[in-house]
């Protein structure tokens, strides 16, 4: 996020850092959470924000579309106001609040759109090379070559390996999932606009992805897969009269995608928290004297560099792990289909 800018400012102007009174809660959750506007940076005490459209549907007054700038400071607009959790609620005449249907283009949605656009551009540009060249006669170089290497690594080492014979049907989804997660993870590490939105560290995002894997596993699962769940090869007393193992298996159907969801979410969120915490040290020690502040600033910058590099690794690993486990789950649902 703005931490790199913050680091520079803090190093060059410790006085500026003194002037900041850091509210840790707002700082951390403001950065990893979602919001109606995108706070890009603050210049001379004036926040520089991108105002995003708020789209809400009230049960009583219907659709409302307005800019987030009207509600950012906590004022009410068209009967809507932010509550303590930062969510938009509708004020009722009797003083109570109601939750409207809220499909606003929030910070995460905008980040998602930008990242998706980047992803689509990258992949389509790569695909364009293959349309324009005879790939049987020459191999791509440069960026296309890198993309080919990544794509074929996922395709050959993960998808083909884990799913087996009919991997072709799943390969577009798994490749999309891999690059979607990878691009969003990387963009999350970029500290300035349009990066920095904590997208893959948001549970709604990972939930959708896990749901896709759940559908891919269960909708296309073969007979053997369902037999293994409902009538597994275990002693009969484990199935009748109390269907112990089937119950466990059915729970397993849901825990697998659930673990996918939580793993990605928690890893990315934790990475963001770590980075933010490391940077926060600079601001928190600002009041403790210039010596301590300077010393800890140096340490936190060094540690921040280390964390950033680690996060780059995590960005790749989590995308890889999600794809691999999805492939494994899909592969399990396709077992014995050929025998």
């Amino acid at each position: 996020m703005k931490r790199l800018v913050g680091i520079l400012v803090a190093l060059l102007l410790p006085v500026f850092a003194w002037a900041q009174d850091l509210d840790m809660d707002e700082y951390l959750f403001g950065h990893v959470g979602d919001s109606y506007g995108w706070h890009v940076t603050t210049i001379k005490g004036e926040p520089v924000s991108i105002h995003l459209p708020v789209i809400v549907r009230s049960k009583t007054t219907g659709w409302h579309v307005f800019s987030s700038k009207y509600i950012e400071e906590g004022e009410s607009y068209e009967g809507f106001v932010l509550n303590e959790g930062g969510k938009l609620v509708e004020l009722q005449p009797d003083g109570t609040t109601l939750k409207p249907l809220d499909i606003s283009i929030t910070k995460n949605v905008l980040g998602l759109m930008v990242n998706s656009l980047i992803l689509v551009l990258i992949v389509l540009l790569t695909a364009r090379w293959y349309r324009k060249h005879d790939a049987t006669k020459q191999a791509p170089r440069g960026f296309t070559g890198l993309m080919e290497m990544l794509i074929m690594m996922v395709e050959d080492d993960v998808i083909k390996e884990c799913i087996g014979a009919d991997y072709r049907r799943y390969s577009p989804y798994l490749l999309t999932a891999f690059f979607f997660i990878f691009v969003n993870n990387l963009m999350g590490i970029v500290p300035f606009f349009p990066g920095g939105a904590n997208i893959t560290g948001n549970i709604a995002i990972t939930m959708t992805l896990a749901l896709c894997t759940f559908i891919a596993v269960n909708v296309f699962g073969n007979k053997h897969y369902w037999k293994d769940i409902l009538w597994p090869d275990v002693p009969t007393w484990l199935k009748v009269p109390l269907p112990l193992i089937p119950v466990i298996e059915i729970i397993g159907m849901f825990t697998k995608p659930f673990s996918l969801m939580v793993r990605l979410f928690a890893n990315i969120l934790a990475g963001h928290f770590m980075l933010l915490g490391v940077v926060a040290v600079i601001f928190l020690t600002a009041k403790m004297g210039i010596g301590l502040n300077a010393g800890l600033s140096v340490i936190s910058v060094l540690f921040g560099v280390f964390m950033d590099i680690l996060e780059l690794l995590v960005a790749f690993i989590q995308a890889y792990v999600f794809t691999m486990l999805s492939s494994v789950f899909i592969g399990l649902s396709r077992q014995h289909s050929n025998s």
Binding site: G33, N108, V109, T126, Y130, A135, L175, C212
Partner: protein, 168 residues
Amino acid sequence: MSLITPDFGLLFWMTLIFAVVFFILAKFGFPIITGMVEKRSDRIDESLRKAEEAEKALAEMDERRQQILSDAKAEQARILREASATSDSIVSKAQDKAKEEASKILEQARIEIAAEKESALRDIRRVVATLSVEVAEKVLRADLDEDEKQGAYLDRLIDEVQRSQDKS
């Protein structure tokens, strides 16, 4: 906004955006790339296989060439050997024939010479006999004109005969 409760708005947009991204990439992105790369790797495999085949064929050809060469050499040696044997036999045969012929001619010549000698001897004998008879006739005719001489002569002849009988 809470961290662990999925927000409906974000779920909605995420589903929409991911569906669109998936549709675009699954239709125009990844299958094209993976398909082309697969085609290329197939082609590389094919080329490698062909190269191996060509190499095998080349080795086979080399072997055959080697085989032909050694066969030719053996053939050449055999022909040479046969030729020399033939020539030897021809020469020896010719020699034998020549010797035979020569001996035949010699034999013939010897026989002819013998015959000639015989006839020559016979002629000489005849001539000598005729001559001696004629000479004897003439001598006898001349000597026997006188009686005395006749008697002397007869005596001598008888003596001679007697002597020759005594000798034998």
